[in-house]
Symmetry: C2
Subunit: 692 residues, 2 copies
């Protein structure tokens, strides 16, 4: 902390000091984890990794294990020796094997062979990535987007007409939303669907090149129909984006009249999926092909909708996309587990450079190597526990158990945050694992190249991470705004004039936060391994940043549009960083709840250490922020790195067990360097050296 | 700065305060850049990007331009529609086209068609990556490793026997150094070459599986001979690693007796190169096949060498590898330029989400997007100016102009630092560019996927970056050690007891540094755009960290080997981070010299801004370090981000010009999104909207 700030006074009025901690919404801070007392028992026994594996499998353990077992089938595995055409054909044919298992039917109603098991379906679906990410995405296009759009956006008649064929793969379909000109900004798509009362048809039309549908899975070859998103126009009036069921190819695979397209060709990854472009020239479909659950047009052209607000209607229709985000996050986490299981196993066997005593040192005994891999193992644990909570929230909404507007909004915020963190974490993990395995990591047989390439797009599809995080940030700001709504300007000015750590704080509702900061300062001698200290720091990171942004953007609505847009843009970077801090806080909380559920003491103790690595790694990454705000002194900041290093050394002996608890078998890893071959080579070489 | 540290006294004795600034070695701090006075002239005229392009082309401008022109040939370009076998065959055949240009002969003596132009050769060679990284590496294997080893490790007789065939592609060859069991630790390879005086032959032998040569370019298919590195043994004594010329295949491509191998198969990238494994079972080669410049065996088995010390001999032989590191750094920088030219052009045309006035906002007008791309443009400028200095140093040594032991050591330190930074920078840049271009960035046609995959291995081959940086760190520590050599223990203890920013400083030679810290504090009001302030901060980052490490490792030589190894390992992470800070300081210095060479005032002013972005980006990344050491106050630390944001906004209008100055044409970029297609689409879409 700087000298000029360390003397700053607490920034809220005394009368507010004792108010209880208030939190704005479930999504922003969720239920606080139960805490155990600091460890008092003597350490007895070894951690039980089977207990950890069980904890990681989560709520849908059986479905997950069943999916993993199915993914051991070599017929489903990615192969690197195929041409583009062969790759695509192979993945298309693999869809039948998935269907034969019955798993894709899970989320559908009983009359379509399912059990409305939204959460269980995604848990199983996430595991498909271990066979081949292309297969996961191809399945996601067919069942998670195309058929799911019919289910969620259509009504019973349309279910009857289209759904069974889609689920049973009799109609392969595309989800034609994205256009060349508009990706994440779906509201701006330019394809039109104009109602013609004469013939009671919609005319689907592409007005210019930028409005071609693009990057659409199943569009290049396999798709026979598409759910096409277009601006609905009737009686001369526009009603926003709606979805239409549009046949696009005949049985021989030829485009129907008025429909054209292009193959997107080779991609940086996911080459088992036939992405392509589609365009429509005055293509006519019956009025009843509008998927009309949230908006309908009567034969005479009258528009009606159960949702009055066009904005809310739009977000409700797009709400079905959340399923994709949830499952991508889960798949990214599963892949990170696979990568780390491979890299840690290799690092535990590979030796390089003679160490003490002349023996070569095992890679994972190098503190630098521990730093490369173990914090990523810890983050993967955090992500896995978070994903299980996200799945539960998703299931609660999509099964109808708790389907309210607020629950949906919370789910979307949570999913956006988790998807962004999980997918970036996976990419970062693959890269670090690849480099940590050196030349061996570059061979196709050891998988990292394929994982990197195939999952690369996960960071920007189903919502660009950068865009998703802005949505999260805006939600945090919105909650903040609600907190000081109704406050007089004079009172607000008084509060804003006070400072914490040099940052203007602008909220009456920040009492709790002020208390937290005071506690932090008082508790500066508490261990950084204390869960309360960790949560206070991570929470302050979010709340102070939100308050700071809230203060700066407070007047945004009173500005002229241009000034408002500019003010917002100037704070965009910090908004995104704040959203990431929020996502990480949620991960920490989920992880901590995961720790608390473990009953076996040595196992819980170990998992707590992993959680501490996660927390200290976060603090270290954000150290400058804490230092600048005076929340950590220079002295204490240095102890972050020291404590982290100690924790990593302590975890080292358990590293292989920790990744083993991810639960994947050789048939999932399929990497020779994780097969024990390295240890055999090392043993042979050492025996030879000793024999000389 | 924290309160407990801000009162710390300068940590050197007063008598030393006035000594002139002393620096340990050329490699550690190099000649200080000349400074212009702060801008006084009124800003007149626009920057001239042709001047920048010229500056970036550097010393070997003509050779570089010639190479770029040649790389426009579609016959040399990477294609994504080939099978593994076709890819390899295509690249093999492309070698002939390179040879036809004459460029590969440049570094060889006139009698082999060259002009001993070591630096010019690499400048031209770096550009080959723009056609296809596989071609660059295949050419590097043949001319930069196989033929270069014959040139540098062999003597005239061997040149006569082997060199012309290697250069003229009559013998494709492998450079068989790395083994499955040992990558960066070459000293530990296990292949043996035992001299048999009876037959005057060496017996090359692979003792166990881990000693197979692995990841060897040209080994899977094309190689007819190999330069094999093995432990030389004669008369029962070992003399360390030496290189042998070993024929491996007959004219029909069949392995010769005693030789076996495997294909490394598909890789994560560079699939135009046929990497493979080789093993030797008592393979006999004539005594004269030992490349005997630095070590020879007489017919009777007597070993002799012009270099007495085995350690020095080893490093001299491995010194030829520096050429690979220099050229990989250059190729990585060229590729980063290509990626940024594509991504910035697209970001300047692509619009997404309505902004002020209803028009959609151009991506690069978003401050977050500026943050994603422009600091990487600045880093690429820094890397390019640094590479030109590295090439000059390389040329000076390898042309024989200034080939001393010290110059070689400096070159190796510099090359190691530059290679690590440049290759990581390139990978980071590709990833950010890919994501910044969204779905379009994922299409193979837009290149990022290929660049990411092909250059991935650059981070770990020709020396793993992590290992290289440790070499740099150790060199910095060695220089530090020399500075306080001869100091009495009592005096040292006195110095070590003093503290700067909480860090124990342990050096008498740190006078200059202490002065610098005092200056920094005094000059806290100076602008962060002041070059002296930037250099002082970046230099302090290195020197304080080295002093800190030096203090902690000071007694390492007196410890038992095990304790010493452990102490070293505990500081490994910081050693590497310090080496990175050193590399970045060198980049900043080279960049600043580059700025000073520009005579045109508006152009120099612009380049200075780019340099400032580079500097402030470095400071922001390392902010916690500066805060913890009290070198930046919290107030000043916050101004780092503010100043950086302002600079980025100021550079925005010049972004396209800045990447245009990288100088690549459409035939190098070969990415539809950088062709203007996006602008045409946007214009058409906007015209359509306005017409409605």
């Amino acid at each position: 902390m700087s000298t000029e700030q360390s003397t700053a006074e607490p920034m809220v009025a005394e009368t507010e000091q004792r108010k209880p901690l208030r939190r704005p919404s479930r999504s922003a801070t969720v239920q606080e984890p139960r805490r155990t007392a600091p460890a008092l028992e003597t350490e007895e026994g070894q951690p039980d990794f089977a207990v950890l594996e069980d904890a990681l499998l989560g709520r849908w353990k059986d479905l997950r294990l069943d999916a993993r077992r199915r993914m051991l089938d070599p017929e489903l595995h990615y192969r690197d020796d195929l041409t583009l055409a062969e790759r695509r054909a192979r993945v298309t044919s693999q869809l039948q094997a998935l269907l034969a298992s019955g798993a894709p039917r899970l989320p559908y109603p009983p009359e379509y062979g399912g059990s409305n098991d939204a959460g269980g379906n995604l848990a199983a679906f996430e595991e498909v990535v271990t066979a081949d990410p292309s297969l996961q995405i191809k399945a996601g296009v067919q069942w998670g987007l195309f058929a799911a759009a019919i289910l969620h956006l259509g009504t019973a008649t349309q279910h009857e007409r289209f759904l069974a064929d889609a689920i049973e793969l009799r109609t392969l379909g595309a989800f034609a939303m994205t256009e060349t000109g508009h990706g994440s900004d779906v509201a701006s798509i330019a394809t039109t669907a104009t109602y013609d009362p004469e013939t009671q048809e919609f005319v689907i039309h592409t007005p210019f090149r930028a409005a071609w549908k693009d990057y659409i899975g199943n569009a290049a070859i396999d798709g026979r129909a598409a759910v096409v998103f277009a601006q609905l126009e009737t009686l001369g009036e526009r009603h926003g984006v709606h979805a239409f069921y549009v046949p696009i190819r005949d049985d021989e695979g030829r485009f129907l009249p008025g429909i054209g397209g292009e193959d997107d060709g080779a991609k940086a990854g996911l080459n088992g999926v036939d992405n392509g472009r589609l365009h429509f020239t005055a293509v006519r479909v019956p009025r009843t092909n509008l998927l009309n659950r949230y908006g309908d047009v009567a034969p005479d052209g009258t528009y009606s909708s159960p949702i009055a607000s066009p904005g809310r209607r739009f977000f409700t229709m797009l709400g079905t996309l959340v399923q994709g985000r949830v499952s991508l996050a889960g798949a990214a986490i599963a892949s990170a587990k696979v990568a780390l299981q491979i890299a840690v196993r290799y690092a535990d066997e590979r030796r390089q450079f003679a160490g003490a005593g002349g023996e070569e040192t095992v890679l994972l005994d190098y503190p630098r190597h521990q730093r490369r891999l173990l914090p990523r193992v810890a983050t993967t644990y955090a992500a896995a526990f978070t994903q299980d909570e996200l799945l539960a929230d998703f299931h609660s909404v999509f099964s109808g158990e708790h389907d309210t507007d607020e629950a949906r909004q919370d789910l979307e915020t949570f999913a956006a945050a988790v998807k962004a963190e999980a997918t970036w974490h996976a990419l970062d993990t693959f890269q670090e694992c690849r480099e940590a395995c050196g030349g061996a990591g570059f061979l196709a047989e050891n998988r990292f190249g394929q994982l990197k390439s195939d999952l690369d797009i996960y960071a920007t599809f189903e919502g660009d991470n950068t865009v998703l995080l802005q949505l999260v940030g805006k939600r945090l700001l919105g909650d903040f705004g609600k907190r000081f709504k109704g406050l007089s300007a004079a009172r607000m000015a008084g509060i804003m004039a006070r400072q914490v750590g040099g940052t203007v704080v602008a909220a009456a509702g920040l009492t709790a936060f002020a208390q937290r900061v005071a506690d932090l300062r008082a508790g500066a001698s508490h261990s950084l391994r204390d869960a309360d200290v960790q949560e206070a720091l991570l929470t302050s990171r979010v709340e102070l940043a939100v308050a700071d942004l809230g203060g700066r953007l407070r007047n945004v609505s009173r500005l002229a549009p241009e000034e408002s847009a500019e003010l917002f843009a100037r704070n965009q970077h910090e908004l995104i960083e704040t959203a990431r801090a929020y996502a990480r806080l949620r991960q920490w909380q989920a992880f901590t709840r995961g720790v608390e559920r473990i009953e076996d003491v040595p196992t819980r103790r170990l998992l707590e250490q992993v959680r501490d690595v996660f927390a200290l790694d976060l603090l270290e990454k954000d150290l400058a922020w804490y230092l600048m705000r005076g929340l950590l002194s220079a002295q204490r900041a240095r102890s972050v790195t020291e404590t982290l290093d100690q924790l990593l050394a302590g975890l080292r002996p358990h590293a292989v067990g920790l990744v083993g608890a991810f639960g994947y078998q050789q048939g999932h890893l399929r990497a020779p360097i994780a097969s024990g071959a390295e240890r055999r080579r090392q043993d042979e070489a050492r025996a030879a050296r000793h024999a000389r």
